[in-house]
C-alpha cells in the first residue's frame, strides 16, 4: 500500500516538474485598473486569475499536446482605449506574449481590434456589447457575448409581451450602451403592442431619482425598464423601494449581476430582471456550477453573472483552441473561427465575429438565486412577478 502511494506521489511530482520545466506561455492583457471603468475591472481580473490558477493546478496549458505553465502579464490601461491599443502593441512587440486576453468594455475592444488585425494576432474578446462590433474586420477578434442592443430590445419586448405587459415606463442613462439599447427597445415595444407610457433619459451623475420615480409611479405602467448603469441601478433600487414602486416587472440593464448589488439590497432585489446569458442554475452547462463554486471558494463572493462569466468563457475558448492548434497564429485563428467550444455558458461557435449559438437572454433574482428566465430554450425558471 505504502509503496503504491510513494510511486503515485513520485509520478505526480515528476509530471508536475516536467510541466514547470517547460517555458511558460506568456498571456498578456490590459485592464482599467484606474479611471472611469475601474469599478468594472475586478470582475474580469478575477476570472482571468481563477482560470490561470486552475490551468496551472492542472499541470499547465495544453499547447497542442505539451503542457506548459501560464504566466499572465497585465497592464493598467487607465480606462483609456487609446492607451489600451498602445499597450497591446507593446505586449505583442516588446513583451512578445504568446497569447492575448481581452481588455474591458466596448471602446477598448474596438481600439484593440485594429492592433490585433495589424499584427494578425488572434484574440477572443468578451465584454464588448454594441452593434459596432459587427463593423470590425473579422478574422482576429471574436465576441462571445449575445447581449447586443439590437437583439436585447426585441427579446425584452417579446418576454414582456408573453408576460402580458400592456405598457412600460422606460428611463435611460444617457451613456452609450443605454442609449443604444433605447434606440432598439422603443420600436420593439411598440411593435409588440406595448405602450411606452414614459420615455425619459437622465445624466450619469444623477444623485436623486425621486422626480423620475414619481413620474413612473404616476404613469401606471405595467413594467419599468431602466436602461441603467451600476451606480444608477443602486440609486433606482434604493429609491424605488422608498417610493413603493410596485410594478410586477422591473428591468435594470447593468448592475444587478454585481455581488455588491445583492449585498446592498438582499431579498429586496428579488424579482429584479436584468441582462445576462449565464447562470450556474443551467444544469445542461456542466461547467457552470463548478465554475461558480470555485469562484465563490476563491473570492468569497458571487461572480458577476455577465462580465466574469464572459471573461472566463473567453479564456476557456482560447484554452481549447490552443490545445488543438498550438500557438501558431494562423492555426489558432482557424481553430477559433471554425471550432466548437464547451464553456461554462454551454457550446460556443462563431459566425464571423459573433457568437452564433448563445441566445440573448435575461436573468431574474428569485429567492436568492439568479435564474435565466428568457428565452424558454435555456430558461432555468419561469419569469415571476415581483
Amino acid at each position: 500500500m505504502m509503496k503504491r502511494l510513494f510511486a503515485g506521489l513520485a509520478a505526480t511530482v515528476l509530471a508536475a516538474s516536467a510541466a514547470w520545466a517547460a517555458d511558460p506561455v506568456k498571456i498578456g492583457y490590459t485592464i482599467a485598473k484606474t479611471g472611469l471603468f475601474s469599478n468594472a475591472a475586478p470582475s474580469q481580473i478575477t476570472a482571468y486569475d481563477l482560470w490561470a490558477e486552475q490551468v496551472n493546478a492542472d499541470g499547465g496549458l495544453d499547447v497542442a499536446g505539451e503542457k506548459r505553465p501560464v504566466e499572465l502579464i497585465q497592464y493598467d490601461d487607465e480606462s483609456d482605449p487609446a492607451k489600451a491599443a498602445q499597450l497591446y502593441e507593446r505586449l505583442i512587440t516588446s513583451d512578445e506574449v504568446d497569447l492575448l486576453l481581452a481588455p474591458w468594455g466596448t471602446p477598448h475592444h474596438l481600439n484593440v481590434a485594429g492592433v490585433v488585425e495589424r499584427y494578425g494576432f488572434p484574440m477572443v474578446g468578451n465584454t464588448a456589447a454594441s452593434v459596432a462590433i459587427r463593423e470590425v474586420a473579422p478574422g482576429n477578434i471574436w465576441f462571445p457575448t449575445s447581449a447586443i442592443p439590437d437583439k436585447i430590445g426585441p427579446e425584452l419586448a417579446a418576454m414582456l409581451k408573453e408576460a402580458g405587459v400592456g405598457s412600460a415606463a422606460v428611463i435611460a442613462n444617457v451613456l452609450p450602451f443605454a442609449q443604444e439599447n433605447l434606440q432598439y427597445l422603443v420600436p420593439a415595444l411598440e411593435e409588440a403592442g406595448i405602450e411606452v407610457a414614459m420615455n425619459e433619459s437622465y445624466p450619469p451623475d444623477i444623485k436623486d431619482m425621486t422626480p423620475l420615480l414619481t413620474q413612473i409611479k404616476n404613469s401606471g405602467a405595467d413594467a419599468v425598464i431602466a436602461l441603467s448603469y451600476p451606480a444608477d441601478s443602486f440609486l433606482y433600487m434604493g429609491q424605488a423601494r422608498e417610493l413603493g414602486i410596485d410594478q410586477p416587472y422591473q428591468f435594470l440593464l447593468v448592475g444587478p449581476t454585481i455581488a455588491a448589488f445583492n449585498g446592498a439590497f438582499g431579498p429586496a432585489a428579488d424579482g429584479i430582471i436584468t441582462l445576462g446569458h449565464w447562470s450556474p442554475q443551467q444544469a445542461d452547462w456542466t461547467k457552470a456550477q463548478p465554475f461558480y463554486d470555485a469562484y465563490v471558494a476563491k473570492y468569497e463572493m458571487e461572480p458577476d453573472y455577465l462580465d466574469t462569466a464572459l471573461a472566463y468563457m473567453s479564456a476557456e475558448i482560447l484554452q481549447q483552441a490552443v490545445a488543438e492548434a498550438g500557438l501558431d497564429h494562423d492555426a489558432l485563428r482557424s481553430a477559433i473561427a471554425n471550432g466548437s467550444f464547451e464553456t461554462i455558458n454551454g457550446t460556443i461557435e462563431f459566425d464571423g465575429v459573433e457568437n452564433a449559438v448563445t441566445p440573448t437572454a435575461f436573468l431574474q433574482r428569485q429567492a436568492g438565486e439568479t435564474h435565466i428566465v428568457w428565452p424558454p430554450a435555456i430558461a432555468t425558471a419561469p419569469l415571476k412577478k415581483r
Binding site: 444623485k207 413603493g244 455588491a260 448589488f261 449585498g263
Partner: protein, 296 residues
C-alpha cells in the same frame, strides 16, 4: 403635476440631498476659507469614511453610525498630518494666495491619486455596499428609508453643531476671523498656526462624516470621490468661497433646484439646470450667494 410638486416626497428628497451637499461643501469650505488650500482630494476623504463604515459594519455587524466619532478623529488626524507635512511651512512663509492655491492644488492632486490607488490596491475596485436601516417609514403620504432619515438627522446635527461652534465659541470665532482676514487675525493675536491646524482637522472630519452617511445609500469604490469633489466646489463657489453660511445655503439651493426643476422639466436637463444655475450665480453674484463684494 401640482400635487407632485407640493408632495412631501419631493421635499424629503430635496432635504436629504441638500444636507449631503451642504455637509460635503462645509468640509471643503473650512479648509479653503482658512488657508486657501484647494483640496481636490476632498472626495477621497469622503471615500475613506465610506470604506471605514463599510468594513466596520461588515466585520462587526454594528451600526455604521457608531463609526462617526472614530472616522471623524481619524480623518482629522489625516488632515493635520498633511498640514504638518506639506502646508505649515509654506503658509507660514507668507506666500501669495495665488501661489498657495496653485501649490495646494498640485499637492492635493497627488494625494488624491495616491489615496485612490492605495485603496484600489488594498481592497480592489470591486464595488461594495451594505444593508443598514433599509426599512421604509411612512409619514402621511411621504415614504422615507431609514438610512436616508439617519443621513438627514446626522447631517442636520453636524451643520447645526458647526454653526453654533463657529458663532458661539472663541475658537470658532477665531476660525471665522481667519477666514475673514488672515493678516488682521494675526495682528489681533490669534495663533494662526493653531487655528489652521484645527480647521483642517475639522474640515477633514466633516468630510469623513459625509462619507459615512453616503456609504449607507451609495455603492462604495476607491474612485467614488471625484464627483463629490466637483459637487463640493460647485457648492462653495456658489455660496462664496470661504463663506460657511453661504456654502450651506448653496448646498440646499442646489438640491432644491435639482429636485424641483427636474420635476417641472425633465431628468435629462438635470446637469444643464444645475450647472446653468451655477453659472448664472457666478455671473450675477460672482462673490457668491451670501458674500458681499470686496472693493479694491
Amino acid at each position: 403635476m401640482l400635487e407632485t410638486v407640493f408632495s412631501g416626497q419631493l421635499l424629503f428628497a430635496a432635504a436629504v440631498l441638500g444636507v449631503l451637499y451642504a455637509v460635503i461643501g462645509l468640509g471643503l469650505n473650512l479648509v479653503y476659507g482658512t488657508m486657501r488650500l484647494l483640496n481636490i482630494a476632498h472626495g477621497d476623504i469622503l471615500m475613506l469614511g465610506a470604506y471605514a463604515a463599510f468594513w466596520w459594519f461588515t466585520l462587526t455587524g454594528l451600526s455604521p453610525l457608531l463609526t462617526l466619532p472614530l472616522v471623524a478623529v481619524a480623518a482629522a488626524g489625516l488632515g493635520i498630518g498633511l498640514y504638518v507635512a506639506f502646508f505649515r511651512r509654506h503658509l507660514a512663509s507668507g506666500a501669495h494666495v495665488a501661489v498657495v492655491e496653485a501649490r495646494s492644488l498640485l499637492i492635493f492632486f497627488g494625494i488624491s491619486v495616491a489615496i485612490q490607488n492605495a485603496m484600489a490596491w488594498a481592497f480592489t475596485s470591486t464595488p461594495r455596499a451594505y444593508r443598514y436601516l433599509d426599512g421604509v417609514w411612512h409619514l402621511g403620504d411621504t415614504a422615507m428609508t431609514g438610512n436616508r432619515i439617519a443621513a438627514l438627522a446626522v447631517g442636520v446635527g453636524v451643520l447645526l453643531a458647526m454653526l453654533v461652534f463657529l458663532n458661539r465659541t472663541l475658537f470658532g470665532l477665531e476660525i471665522k476671523a481667519l477666514i475673514q482676514h488672515r493678516e488682521a487675525a494675526r495682528i489681533v493675536g490669534i495663533n494662526v498656526d493653531r487655528v489652521q491646524l484645527f480647521a483642517i482637522g475639522l474640515g477633514f472630519a466633516v468630510a469623513g462624516i459625509g462619507g459615512v452617511l453616503l456609504s449607507m445609500t451609495e455603492q462604495i469604490t476607491p474612485f467614488m470621490g471625484f464627483p463629490f469633489t466637483i459637487g463640493a466646489f460647485v457648492v462653495i463657489i456658489m455660496g462664496g468661497l470661504g463663506n460657511i453660511r453661504g456654502g450651506i445655503v448653496a448646498g440646499f439651493a442646489l438640491a432644491f433646484v435639482e429636485i424641483y426643476l427636474v420635476t417641472l422639466t425633465s431628468a435629462n436637463l438635470r446637469s444643464i439646470l444645475v450647472y446653468g444655475i451655477f453659472v448664472a450665480v457666478l455671473l450675477i453674484r460672482p462673490q457668491g450667494l451670501l458674500s458681499r463684494a470686496r472693493r479694491a
